[in-house]
Every structure is written in C-alpha cells, then in structure tokens.
Symmetry: C2
Subunit: 301 residues, 2 copies
Amino acid sequence: MNNWDFSVEFVQQLYAGLNKAGVDYMEIGYKNSPKLLKGAEGAGPWRFLNDDFLRKVIPQKGSTKLSALVDVGRVDEDDILPRSESLLDLIRVACYVKDVDKALDLIQKFHDLGYETTINIMALSGVMEKELVEAFDLIKESVVDVVYIVDSYGSLDHKDMLYLIEKFKAHLPNKRLGVHTHNNMQLAFSNTLIAVDNGVEFLDASVYGMGRAAGNCPTELLVTHLKNTQYQLRPVLEVLEKLLVPLREQEEWGYLLPYMITGTLNEHPRSAMAVRASENKDAVVEFYDKLTTPEVSFPKG
Amino acid sequence: MNNWDFSVEFVQQLYAGLNKAGVDYMEIGYKNSPKLLKGAEGAGPWRFLNDDFLRKVIPQKGSTKLSALVDVGRVDEDDILPRSESLLDLIRVACYVKDVDKALDLIQKFHDLGYETTINIMALSGVMEKELVEAFDLIKESVVDVVYIVDSYGSLDHKDMLYLIEKFKAHLPNKRLGVHTHNNMQLAFSNTLIAVDNGVEFLDASVYGMGRAAGNCPTELLVTHLKNTQYQLRPVLEVLEKLLVPLREQEEWGYLLPYMITGTLNEHPRSAMAVRASENKDAVVEFYDKLTTPEVSFPKG
C-alpha cells in the first residue's frame, strides 16, 4: 500500500531488527520482471528486486534468510541467478489454482537453481473442492518444499482453517505447510495460532500487520506469544517504534470497516480500498448496500 | 474511556440500532452508588444509572433487554427497585475471586427482586486453581443464572479459553456460561468464537470494540459471523457510521502497542493507559523495559 516505496535504511533496519528478534525469514520483495508487469512505473526497488542492488543493501547477511515472491506470468526465469550467486534463499510462487501447473514448472527451475521453494494458491476460499484436489495431485509429485494455505480475503475462521489444514495434510503428507492470513475479521493472528497448533510450520507475518487493506498477522504478536521458541519481542518493538508506527501515520492499513465488509462477504478488498481512497471513506452503509444488492441490468434496445 | 459521557441521543440511537440488529441485551451502564464510589465526579449519567432518568431515555422498550453492571462494595442495594418497576432485566455483578461470597449475597437479593443475574469474576488469569474451585463450590449452590469467563487483561489464547471453559463446565454443570474478552492481543473476537463453539451462550461485545484500553470483542464481527442466528449487520453498520466511527476520532481505544505489551505480560492495562495519556505515547521500548526489568530497591539508612 505504499507502492514498495521503502527507503534502503528502512529495509536495512528492519532486516537488522528481525535478525535480533530471531525471525527465520524476511521477504524482501518481489522478483517479478518489469518487462512482464505493466503499469508499475514509479514503484520502489522492492517491486523488482535486483541482485546487485540487494547486495548493496545487505552487505552482510545475518541468520535471517531472505525470500522473494514471484507471480506466475510476471517473472522472467532468466532473471533468477543460481542461489549460490544470490542473497535469496527462498522463492515463493503465488498463483491461482488454474495455474498450479505453470507454478510447478517455475518451481522446478528454481529448485534446480538451489532455492527453497513454496507454492501459494491464492483465493482458496473461492476454489471448488474438485479443482483443489486436482492441484494437490500435481503438487504432491513436485519438488516444492512448502505448500501455503492462503486466506486471501481474510474471510476464514478457525473452523475453516482447521478444515483446510486437515485437507492439505491428507492430500500432501510429504509436504511442509505454511499459512498466510489477512486481518479483515481480526482473525489473522488467531488463525495463525490455530495453524501452529496443527502442525503448520511456515507462518507469514508482517511487523504491525502492515499490508494491503486490513493487513496481515502482526509479527510482534507471534514473536511474543509462540511457546518454546527463541524469538525476542524487544527488537521487534524497536523496529515498531522507529519504523512502523511512524509509517502507519502516513499510510493506512488494518481493521477498517470496508475491509471487514469485504472479509465477511468473502470478496477481494479492491472495492473497499477504492472507498477508503475516496471522499466517502466512512460511508459504510452505502458501501455495504452496494455489495449486497443484486445489480439490476436493463437489456438495451 | 470517555468517563461515561455519552449523550442521551447517542444512547437512544444505539439502543434503536441494537434492537434492529436483533442483539439480545444492551448494557446501558453501571448501577453503582455515587455515595460508595469516590472520585467519580464529572462522570456521565451512565455511571450511576437512575431508574427515572432511564425511563425518559427509553420511553418504549424494544426486544433488546437492558442490563446494568454493579461492583461488589460499590452498589447500594437499596438503590435497586423490583424488576417490575425498573427497565432493567439483568444485573451483572463483577468481583474479584476473594469477594465471590459477597457477590452471591447481592445476587440473591437481585434474584429475589426478579432480575436475571450474572457473576463476573475478574482477573481470572491470575487466580489460583484452588481459589477458583472454592469459588465454584459457592456459585454452584447459588441462584445466579450465568457465570462469566472474563479475560480482564486480554492475555488468553484459544487454548487458555478452552481450558477455562472445560473447567467451568465441569464444576458448574447447572449454570449457563458467558464470556467477556479484551482485545490486547487481537484475540477478543476469536476467543469469543471459541467460546460459542463450546457451548458458551452469553457473549459480551461492544460496537467497534469500544472499551477501555484495547477494547473488547466488536459487536459487528459477532453479528455478521455467527451462523444460525437472526442477527443483522446493517443496523450495526448504521450505528458505526453515525456514532462509533466519529467517536473513535475523539477517543482512543483498540490495538495499540502498550496494550499489547500489558496483554502479553498478563498485567492490568493501567500502566499502558498512562503511557498513552503521556507525551511519550509511542515510546514502547522504554515502556517494555520498565515492565520487564526487576526493580532494584535500595534499603534506606
């Protein structure tokens, strides 16, 4: 929601803080290709990570590994160096369920280059059982290391989460699982805890929950609450005080009613983001009526 | 957190909205005695509810019942009219575990006057098992209708909540249960859902989560999410847009880092409220250090 406009110092301080906090991975940006993604002019350098640039930002790697996200159809595989020549450790591939085959082709290539890999099927809450099972059959036979359960719209509760975890476990007994939540219904953290309790190992979070629309599971809550871990809260508080609380005064994310409404309706938040960017940002009744009233269409002529 | 300074119109509109939404009860204030609670000068009329005043505010009762809270030691039982002469339906008695006997004496009197009653043992997360079991023995034999599980400090997660529910059920098989949560760790709503799933029937919530410090479980989330109920979201959105969103611009509550810190440390939020009222309201590292560094005391002389 800030168009990837983080300063180099911001990213360096965040990386240092996450290292001190014992966080395992930091996702440092997207590795899509500017040639394949139009309309992204003006985005910060974290939108299209460059390995040389990254080496200047992080001259000395700590124990926190680095990951990057790519989207099927937006990444140029020739942009990806072998892991031995890159600072990145993990490449995560996001796709819709219909593109799982393409995602797995990419993952095979990244795997052969030495990277850890994940597959993140987006918008799970709108995927039919049959499609999902077909996707699982492909994933099970692939080299991917981690399969993510993604609550794109922040619409899942603990029962939905348990249902999905059991389904993923049953169909993918040979894969590690991850979880990525959104906070539209104030359930991002609790759904992540449910996932931990049921064997999910990769837990996505962002400091202060920063992220598009309602944002994500807050790192500080996970770090302080998870038992039997070495995570430290204090370095995350340092980052919060220095970087994230000031940023929240510039940029808006979190529990806001239009996002709650798209969450409860199990919809993409784009309509809610448009409302928050408009003059009527608090007109939630009108917004709700728009989303819940069937459109009447008058045939022309 | 606004010193009970709601206008009569605010309360009337809120009551009308909750009726339309199908909410079962509205807690309209405290029924403590001004004679027994010093230092409350300047508080709004909802701090010390008066039956005549209430009758002017709500000339026509809807289907939403009305409740009031009292604290052991702060209520004058002679202030309480018989239910047949009052607009109130339910009186809730809050106490610490050491005062359960006194709370049950009051409850017997309110019960004899015709009211539904609840007992709310505060600060449960700091109560020893033995004390709690002794309290249960008294409660089991009493006339109280509903026993509340109260997460005063917003420090409980779903496993804690399940543990408490099982304990309450085992010791109080003849009582209905309620739940009252705080949102310090963003778990107020999810803990309430866990409670519903496990047979808890009385669910405390406040519109937009308004309440002291981190606030409570948001009414709008419960109303929209609970399955097999007649609750309506739209009237709550009307109240949110008209009353609560504007109020949130005047008064502060919700997920703020000092409240997260007292929540994770299982402490009363008063120190965090002091920080938020100070000039250094965002100095969270210093605040955390203060709360986590053992005090060094130098003996005098």
